[in-house]
């Protein structure tokens, strides 16, 4: 019976939504939602997959009742490659949002102390659901104080639920003088994790920090400490483990210039652990070391728009392990650099962008990627975009080898109402199993209205994060026909 409650709730909400949507809108009552339906038909086996994600909010100001329904009949899991049948409700919530209180009962996401103390989130594209179900409150009792409090049950694993509690305050000590640029904050969290397979653990994080902002610069810093009561069998045999970390950020924006300099520094010594703790990366490449277990590093980035048609960006990041497991194993050391130049309207109706990035991991790999992108407006309503990308990876460990990938893309847009795109990718990497070494994908997107669009694509998709037709999404590796209908209402 209880399992049917969310289904019945959704049915009632969707039915109510359909009815309310037919009524004239009012300031008190409104409904918003989005729906994305994807149909896949694979080339070789003829397998069919259908995925639908429906988000629906019924707004009775200041309350909002919402659900997110996921229907996989089945879904092709992007990681396991296995077809999964599922009709699920990833979120059900009641929100209250009016000064000075913001409250959620049900599913909520939250971040405390930049993720150094807690981060609950959901990312369907990467198959992660680290949300919490419970209560979340955010209150501003006075102009100079903000408080967050939360408590709930985590959804990391149905078999081993997590108890999550936390809170954060931010104070503005000079607000009485009209200065809101100076603030101090503190945060705390507790995550109790019980697993039938692993020893019980109780992880606590504490953090304190400050921020000072003016028109010309910003400086902020956070220090966080972790204690992990790791119970072997009983509390008597518990082991108390520690970790800590700090993160510093400074941004300079000199007056009368379109120039900014960003500096970030991190030092994370066993601060992380579970995915509930995810501090800033301080890196251009998110896939580099970032689990807050044993790393330090810095980043410096300069962005400038010296003259109207010229936009420049350059940056460098360095990060390395704090210690290694054994003196024989060298530390992981990674250097990264990016640079881009964008020239807009120097040649009328034309945009040219050149981008280059380089990554070097000592004794392991060299990676570089370059991209040239142009767009040209044929008329006020028609534009054409070309993109050519080159990637090269040279691996020196465990075996020396060099790969290169090429990607070319051509898109034609008519007032944004109709977009046709053709993409070709090629690699010289030795295919594993029945993988291919080239991919071709053609897609037509048509906007029925501004809020409703349908796209039909055919060919082979390599998978990963791709930006096409002006929208970035995570794509599954796939061969065949794909139809997608996306709506906002």
């Amino acid at each position: 019976m209880f399992k049917k409650i969310p289904i019945i709730t959704t049915l009632l909400l969707v039915a109510a939504g359909a009815c309310f949507a037919l009524l004239p809108t009012t300031e008190i009552l409104s409904i918003h939602g989005s729906n994305e339906a994807i149909y896949l038909l694979t080339d070789e086996e003829g397998d069919e997959y259908f995925t639908d994600r429906l988000e629906l909010d019924l707004n009775l100001h200041p309350f909002t009742i919402g659900v997110v329904a996921l229907i996989y009949q089945p879904r092709l899991n992007p990681f396991s490659g296995i077809a999964e049948y599922q009709t699920d409700f990833s979120q059900i919530f009641l929100k209250y949002n009016a000064k000075p209180l913001k409250a959620t009962i049900g599913s909520f996401t939250s971040t405390l102390a930049k993720g150094m103390v807690l981060r609950t989130y959901e990312d369907i594209d990467v198959d992660r659901n680290w949300m919490a179900k419970g209560a979340y409150l955010e209150i501003k009792p006075w102009k100079d104080l903000e408080i967050k409090v939360l408590g709930g049950r985590g959804e990391a694993d149905d078999d081993s639920p997590d108890n999550i509690y936390g809170g954060e305050f931010t104070a503005y000590p000079l607000s009485a003088l009209g200065i809101y640029g100076l603030s101090f904050s503190g945060a705390i969290s507790s995550v109790g994790y019980t697993s039938p397979y692993l020893p019980t653990s109780d992880i606590r994080h504490y953090a304190g920090g400050g921020k000072f902002t003016t028109d010309f610069f910003t400086v902020s810093g956070i220090y966080a400490k972790k204690t992990d009561f790791f119970f072997q069998d009983t509390p008597v045999q518990s082991e108390l483990r520690y970790g800590d970390g700090y993160y510093i950020n400074a941004v300079a924006t000199p007056p009368f210039t379109n120039l900014s300099v960003n500096f970030e520094y991190k030092n994370y010594n066993h601060l992380g652990g579970m995915d509930y703790f995810a501090p800033p990366y301080v890196s251009f490449f998110e896939q580099t070391i970032s689990n807050a277990q044993n790393e330090k590093g810095y980043l410096i980035e300069i962005i400038s728009n010296p003259i109207k048609f010229l936009r420049l960006r350059g940056g460098y990041a360095h990060q390395e392990e704090l210690t290694t497991f054994s003196p024989e194993i060298p530390k992981q050391v990674i250097d990264e650099a990016v640079a881009s130049i964008r020239v807009q309207e120097f040649i009328p109706k034309t945009v040219l962008e050149v981008f280059y990035e380089l990554e070097h991991e000592e004794n392991v790999t060299d990676y570089d990627r370059g991209r040239i992108k142009t767009s040209y407006q044929l008329t006020d309503n028609h534009s054409i975009i070309t993109s050519f990308e080159y990637e090269r990876r040279r691996e020196t460990f465990p075996v020396e080898s060099t790969f290169r990938d090429l990607t070319g893309e051509l898109s034609f847009s008519w007032s944004g109402l109709f977009i046709a795109s053709l993409k070709y990718e090629n690699t010289n990497q030795e295919p594993a199993g029945d993988e291919r070494d080239s991919w071709t994908w053609g897609e037509f997107l048509y906007k029925l209205t501004n809020e409703h669009e349908i796209s039909v694509g055919y060919g082979q998709l390599r998978g990963g994060k791709t930006c096409s037709g002006g929208v970035c999404r995570y794509e599954l590796p796939f061969e065949g026909l794909r139809i997608r209908i996306s709506s906002l209402f």
Binding site: V14, A21, T25, K102, T111, P280, I303, S375, V471, F489
Partner: protein, 175 residues
């Protein structure tokens, strides 16, 4: 039974979406900080300005491609009461990159930080960039996803329509 429930959800979803075709919703309330740490409350904006909102993030290239055009739109319609607001949905991990990017590019429109994606969820945005125009009645007469060069003409048409419908919004005064 499960199949009936599933089919019911699908049918009702489609019904709801079809009903929504002719629907112009009331804009949701929000309260967010800008890149200087100041709170911006939608109740101070709705009714006083014509508002053009973009949901974006620093890793969304199409979003950043559209910003020079949004700056032009902001410059062109500022004196007719238009506010351009770019809501960055970067998480706490990457939100420190927002201010350097905006300042370095010299953009002067308002940029707000939605690090918990609370407002993005409130607007039911499922992809980026996503654009909304909110008129002086607090309604959303126009929304749009994606950007390619030329799309700015669609934005300008929507803004012109909203200005015409308001029978002449005046500087800072709305209708």
């Amino acid at each position: 039974m499960k199949k009936i429930l599933l089919n019911s959800v699908i049918v009702l979803s489609l019904l709801s979406i079809l009903a929504g075709l002719a629907y112009a919703g009331n804009a949701p309330y929000f309260s967010l900080k800008d890149t200087k740490g100041r709170w911006v409350d939608s109740s101070d904006l709705y009714g006083n300005y014509l508002i053009f909102i973009m949901f974006w993030s620093t890793d969304c290239e199409a979003c950043k491609d559209s910003m020079p055009y949004l700056q032009d739109i902001y410059d062109d319609y500022y004196y007719e009461g238009l506010k351009v607001i770019c809501i960055a949905t970067d998480s706490e991990r990457t939100s420190d990159r927002v201010k350097p990017f905006i300042s370095g590019q010299g953009y002067t429109f308002t940029v707000l930080l939605d690090t918990d994606q609370y407002v993005r969820d409130t607007f039911n945005v499922n992809q980026e960039p996503y654009y909304f125009l909110i008129n002086w009645d607090g309604d959303i007469p126009f929304s749009y996803s994606g950007f390619t060069p030329g799309t700015e003409a669609v934005f300008k048409d929507a803004i012109e329509d909203a200005l015409s419908a308001s029978e002449g919004g005046d500087f800072f005064g709305g209708k």
